[in-house]
Assembly symmetry: C2
Homo-oligomer: 394 residues x 2
């Protein structure tokens, strides 16, 4: 049989970075290539206790089919959380539970964007969501991400010069891969442009609660008087990613269509996972829990940065994040970045080449991404020591 695939998936080719990421399967390799939360951040004892209580008290609820919109008590918890913590007033009909944060982007694209319509994203941006957009065969347009968020002029130009612009995708907090935050001024500017041109914003916020330095910046959703913003939240980084629970907060008509799309995909999110999240939010002192996470990540990020300060050629520039999981390093102009990453891999240190995060393969980048949350302290020290010794050629 000669298999022929749909046009949309033919555009999703395995990329050149695969060969580099393949080395991470070797247990002797130090991986700075992951995006995993620190395992020591998982509240294992509490989750164990909660799960045991669920199977004692409500086993049938945890095992039977449930509704697509999500477990009602968890949706209520999220309404309360959005108000209290993020200044977002919403009602339950504006909330659905998703199977991880990424599903919000996939469902939003499916519900709102026709093939060949335009989606605008930050450049660089998160590979998983870039591919979700590509899997619907959209016209994906990248707008340069500066140190304080998208270039606003370029954004307006992208909106006005492309056909059928339907979505602006942004990760305003500790962006993946750059680790930077969009400033309050730029958040307002992005919102004003969306309003002016009648375009929806997809605000992805998986890392917002992982701030260990600086001040929280209001979400774009909290400014949303017009019903323009689809907000994606996630329990992956504040609780655990393996249970796959995220949520969407969006205007009710959008939520309705996304619900239909979710129904035909996975019917509903694992109900046991949803019950675990809800009980966790009820039992935990959330602020204290986030303080504990901040301490873990502040330490790991600080350690990686101080080792880099000592060991890495000063011509290599890198961000000093205030939260999240990633450091973004940039080689001097003219250095062959892929060659550098390959040399790292050969020396058993894996980083992600910046080309993994570009909108198309012909965008050139001399940057690479480092993750500090997954490796141990020993691995950070040893890995940066190795990385510091990698020579590069111009």
């Amino acid at each position: 049989m000669n298999y022929s695939f749909s046009e949309r998936v033919s555009k999703l080719q395995p990329s050149a970075i695969r060969e580099i990421l393949k080395v991470t399967q070797d247990p002797t390799v130090i991986s700075f290539a992951a995006g995993n939360p620190a395992p020591e951040a998982f509240p294992v004892d509490m989750v164990r206790e909660i799960t045991s209580d669920i199977f004692r008290d409500e086993p049938i609820t945890a095992l039977q089919y449930s509704i697509t919109e999500g477990y009602t008590p968890l949706r209520k918890t999220i309404v309360e959380l959005m108000g209290r913590r993020y200044g977002v007033n919403c009602v339950m009909d504006e909330v659905i539970i998703t199977s991880g944060g990424q599903q919000t982007s996939e469902l939003a694209c499916k519900a709102l964007v026709n093939e060949h319509d335009t989606v605008i994203c930050e450049a660089p941006s998160f590979i998983g969501v870039i591919n979700a957009f590509k899997s619907y065969n959209v016209n994906l347009v990248g707008v340069e991400l500066e140190d304080d968020g998208m270039n606003i002029e370029e954004l307006e130009k992208a909106i006005t010069t492309n056909k059928n612009v339907k979505l602006i995708y942004v990760i305003p907090n500790f962006q993946n891969p750059k680790g930077i935050c969009t400033s309050i001024e730029k958040r307002k500017a992005i919102y004003e442009l969306a309003k002016k041109y009648g375009v929806m914003i997809l605000e992805d916020n998986p890392y917002g609660d992982l701030r260990f330095d600086g001040e929280n910046i209001p979400s774009i959703k909290s400014m949303d008087t017009e019903g323009l913003v689809i907000y994606a939240g996630s329990f992956s980084k504040i609780l655990a990613p393996g249970i796959r629970v995220g949520f969407t907060v969006a205007p009710t008509p959008v939520i309705s269509k996304m619900t239909v799309c979710k129904q035909v995909s996975d019917v509903h999110t694992t109900i046991l996972s949803q019950m675990i999240c809800n009980e966790f939010m009820k039992r935990v002192d959330f602020d204290a829990h986030l303080d504990k996470l901040a301490e873990i990540y502040r330490h790991k990020c600080g350690l990686m940065l101080s080792e880099m300060d000592k060991k890495v050629n000063p011509k290599i520039k890198y961000t000093r994040p205030q939260g999240g999981l990633f450091i973004w390093a940039t080689l001097p102009e003219g250095v062959d970045m892929m060659d550098f990453c390959r040399k790292c891999a050969a020396e058993k240190v894996a980083v992600v080449p910046g080309s993994a995060f570009t909108v198309s393969d012909d965008v050139k980048t001399s940057s690479f991404r480092l993750n500090f949350s997954t490796p141990t302290d020993e691995q950070i020290i040893k890995g940066i020591d190795i990385l510091g010794k990698i020579s590069y050629t111009i």
Copy 2:
């Protein structure tokens, strides 16, 4: 804001049956409208024990990110199960774990079918998968489902007269909604046509293990010498649906593309759920477990049929299923089926109008679907008594 949605979701309109299904939210209504497995069939004690062991022995594996293809031990278990129980020889690279059985259909459609390409399904067929196909804006063509499977002549005509036929979707065991099985002869004939015309078959088998009468019939996948069949399995009916675990067995190139589609949607299936399924399969005496399920469903189906034999107007015909969850009842020619279902709902018995399972709204049907697995014995007796008293007009 005036929201504009994608063409594909605009085709997914809420249907007229919603008003009838809405009554099932009223706890005083007896619902024969669900598709839920019997809650007494859930192995609650074993799942409780397994979960507790997982959190004692491997909490980080259960909580951390995992790979899209699925939990490796579970994929191995499925390879073994497919060989032993279903006569399907496959290797691990031909298996992915999905978030419930339905996800296989959604991913297969996304990976293989362009907008406006043709998908052929049984008429009537399962609403969830019909909508999954519609959500990719395909040309969906129904082929009459006779008592022993699709009308083969009509199937060949559908293949030869429609443009770009990419998939033939069948539920050969205890079909939803009709409850019938496709005969071995017709399974072979469907496979031969697929081979002749180079079309893939999507074989959906969520109910195959719920046989309580008659002999098992070999799966189409077990005849697949050419790599034409995508097989969808599910733990929803043999273990529990709330944990959302299904699986796909398909040729490796197809699995690869479906994996990319899954990755951009939910990254991976809840790893805790996958570990529960794998441990369950290791600990349970599977044949004895299925015997226990068969006993529960044989009893419930038998009770509903014997009550119907006593109470229901003999002009209403219905199937006598050998397994699965559903009885398919057909009103005499000319009776207004929707009116009959509305009257049932008014008397607080919910059934699903056959129009829920048609490929398009203009297909007429005088049938409705009854579920015997979810209601209690008392509800079956009382509900059928009420249903027997509903008058109908021609």
